[in-house]
Every structure is written in C-alpha cells, then in structure tokens.
C-alpha cells in the first residue's frame, strides 16, 4: 500500500472513531449533557417565550462550550494511561498531524452531534426560526475551534489529578472569542441583519486554531513525557 503524508492522520482518525463507536454511549455523553443542560433553562427561567427567545442563542452556545469542556479529558487521558501517547510522541509520524487527527475525531464525536441537535434545542428554547440555520452553521465551524483549542489545555493537564476544575479555568478564557462571534452571528440573524461578518471572523478563529494549536499541543505533550 502506498504511503502518503496523511497516512498517520487517516489511521489515527479511523482508530479514534472506531473506539468511540465501540464505547457507544460513553463517547456521546457530552451531547446528552448539552441537550439536558439546555432543557433545564425553561424550567428555571419559567415558560416566558419572549424572555427565552432573547437569551436562547447565548444559552445554546454556553452549553456547547461546557459540553466540549466536559469531553476534553477524553482526548488524551486514556492514551496517556495506556502508554500509547509516549509511543506516538517518538513515532516517525509528525506529532502535530496525529494531534490534528485526534481533534478532528473529537469534533466528529462531540461538535458535530451538537450542531445536529441544535435545531431541537432552538425549538425548545424558542429561538426564532430565522436564526436556526446560522446557529447550526456557527456551531459546525466554531465546534472545530473548540476541539482544537481545547487540545492545548488537555495536553497541559495530562496526569494532573484535579484536571477537571483546572481545565475549566484554562480553557474557558480561550473560548471567549468563539462564544462572542458564535452567539453574535445567531443574534444578528435573528434581528434580521447580515451574519456573514460574525461567521467570517469565527471562521478565521477556527482556521488559525486548526493550523496553530496542533503545534502548541505537541510541545505540551512532549513536555508531559519527561
């Protein structure tokens, strides 16, 4: 079989996706958390349609952020425990490429299902229909950025016992730009404005995270092996 530059990327992507498939429910818990969390808001705020409509875009995005955060420790923790990660660090494949594959698999398992579930949430939270398409699009693009940026924090916190809380402190500030433009795009669409500007800026954030984060994460992982 011919060997290409991307063979390590494809092999790792396939591997992580089949692991998620075998583990079944466990991998999709984050999506469940996303849906259930957002369902609590109408119960807490009360069934006032106007009020919910005004805050729903922000709520859905905050829930997307938190669910991604919840799933971040899945990214490297198991591979680190089993000793796979140290083998990958010294493998002939470029480490950033393998990390990019892991982040992409992470997005397919968490970000993608969230974007698919978003219209249901939009309905439940009374988000005006004009914003639905933008919401799905923004979650698709922004979700990728969340997974790639999150990989840096996941790599830095490998092996730390109180990883969960620290992860929140590390990752949430880095997620703020994505949140602002993501929720902004939906708000603009709902208000009848053009949301292209917000989406373009978010696309720029996503592209730069895809191209830069794997290198930062790879440096953090090498450090963690010492």
């Amino acid at each position: 079989m011919g060997r290409t530059e991307l063979s390590g990327f494809i092999a790792t992507l396939n591997r992580d996706l089949s692991i998620a498939r075998r583990e079944g429910g466990e991998a999709f818990l984050a999506v469940l958390f996303f849906v259930l969390g957002a369902l609590l808001f109408p119960l807490g705020v009360g069934p006032e349609a106007q009020l919910l409509a005004a805050v729903s875009a922000g709520l859905i995005w905050v829930m997307a952020l938190l669910s991604t955060l919840l799933a971040l420790d899945r990214l490297f923790q198991a591979d680190w425990r089993e000793g796979t990660l140290e083998l990958l660090v010294i493998s002939p494949e470029p480490l950033p490429l393998i990390i990019a594959a892991k982040c992409t698999a992470h997005w397919i398992v968490t970000g993608l299902p969230m974007a698919v579930a978003a219209p249901v949430m939009a309905l439940l939270l009374n988000l005006p229909p004009e914003g639905w398409l933008t919401l799905v699009g923004a979650l698709l693009i922004g979700g990728l950025a969340l997974s790639f940026i999150g990989s840096i924090c996941a790599a830095l916190l490998i092996g730390s016992r109180r990883g969960g809380v620290l992860m929140t402190l590390l990752a949430l500030p880095l997620y703020i730009p994505t949140l602002i433009f993501g929720a902004g795009a939906v708000q603009a669409a709902v208000g009848g404005y053009d949301s292209t500007g917000h989406l373009a800026l978010m696309g720029a954030i996503t592209l730069s995270s895809i191209s830069l984060c794997p290198w930062v994460t790879s440096a953090a992982l090498k450090q963690a092996m010492e």
Partner: protein, 214 residues
C-alpha cells in the same frame, strides 16, 4: 573496521535531582545486543527512555548511523521500536486492530499475512479477534512485543520484556530477538529476569553511578 550503527557517548541522566548514571558509553553494530541490568531504581528504564528520546539526557550524545539522533529524528524514529513499561494498547480495539494501527504509524507493511505471522510468533494468533481488554498481563506484554516484531524496525528498546511472561513465551521472545538480530537488527533490553541472548554486551547501570565523584 566495523561501522557502529548506534553510538552512545558520555551519556548522563538526572531524574528528580538525583544523578542516575553518567559517563556511559555504548556502541553497537548491526546484529548487536546489550543487556542492561541493575537493581530497582538504578535507572534502567530512564536509560532506555533517554535513548528513545522521551527524556533529555543531562549530557552526552546519541548517534544513529552517524547522525545525531536527537537533532535528526526522522531516520532514527522510523528505525526505533520502544516497548516500555506500559503496553500501549487500546483496550476496546481487537488484538489485530491494535497491531494494524501501529504498522500504519510505523509505516511498515500492513499485509495481513505479515501481521498474522507477527502474532503467531508471540502465540497470539488464535486471539487476534479478541478485544485487548480481556487479555491477561502476559498476553498484553506479548502483544506489545508483537508491535515491534511485526513492524520492520531496526532498533528495539525493550524495557523488562519478560515481565509476566511464562517460560514458553520467554523462549518465543528469545527466538524473535535472535531472528531480528540475524537480520541486522540491534536490541537493547533491560531485565532482572534471566533472558538468554547469545553474544551480547552486558551493561550494569550501577557501574556508572557516581562516576563523577570517584
């Protein structure tokens, strides 16, 4: 003059503020082997991790085929097969899937016959469809070794390869090692258990302790 393929010169390593070893020289030619011994905590694992590139040495150099292996990693890493304390297996994937993934990462042939031969040489062929999580400790160890055996490396670093292995499996591993060496491979193994390697250099890590002070 024989060409030294792997050359370690004046290697020193410090972990947690303690100097584990220093002034360690070792050179191996094709087909060569070294057996690293020493009491627990003397730095056998750290020594192998330094060569593998997982730990930066305090001082000293590692050369692979005349190239500095710490700077020019490509050639060295495609030759290197490190089997550490952890087996590096994915529990939900099957035995064969685990092996196949590493053959892809190492860029070796993914020919099913070849992978099956590798599993056969460690006696795991009959279990190839089982998920790795149901394997016993010894079977996991054998699968970890099969990752090196079936993927065309040229330098094996084996950290306690015989831990949890029964007598028959140790025999199998010894056979695999001698076959690998006769095809030109280099092996460095650390062990406290008897491992029968013909014509190998013996390296006692504790000989290199406190070398600076004496």
């Amino acid at each position: 003059m024989t060409k030294h393929v792997l050359e370690l010169s004046n290697l020193a390593c410090r972990r947690g503020g303690r100097l584990l070893f220093s002034g360690l020289d070792l050179s191996l030619t094709e087909g060569g082997a070294a057996l690293v011994t020493g009491p627990n905590g003397s730095g056998k694992s750290s020594f192998l991790r330094v060569i593998a590139g997982l730990i930066q040495p305090l001082q000293g150099q590692i050369h692979w085929e005349g190239q500095n292996a710490q700077k020019f990693t490509d050639n060295f890493r495609s030759a290197l097969r490190y089997v550490g304390h952890s087996d590096g297996l994915q529990p939900v994937l099957s035995v064969l899937e685990n092996l196949k993934y590493w053959s892809q990462i190492y860029g070796s042939s993914q020919d099913l016959k070849k992978l099956n031969r590798g599993l056969e040489s460690v006696g795991l062929f009959d279990l190839s469809e089982l998920p790795a999580r149901v394997l016993s400790a010894g079977q996991r160890r054998r699968l970890a070794l099969a990752k090196a055996i079936a993927t065309d490396g040229r330098l094996w670093l084996l950290d306690e390869p015989t831990v949890a292995l029964d007598r028959q499996s140790i025999k199998r591993i010894e056979t695999a090692i001698s076959e690998f060496r006769s095809s030109g491979g280099i092996v460095i193994a650390s062990t406290n258990a008897p491992l029968n390697l013909s014509d190998c250099k013996a390296l006692d890590i504790s000989d290199y302790q406190w070398a600076e002070q004496n």
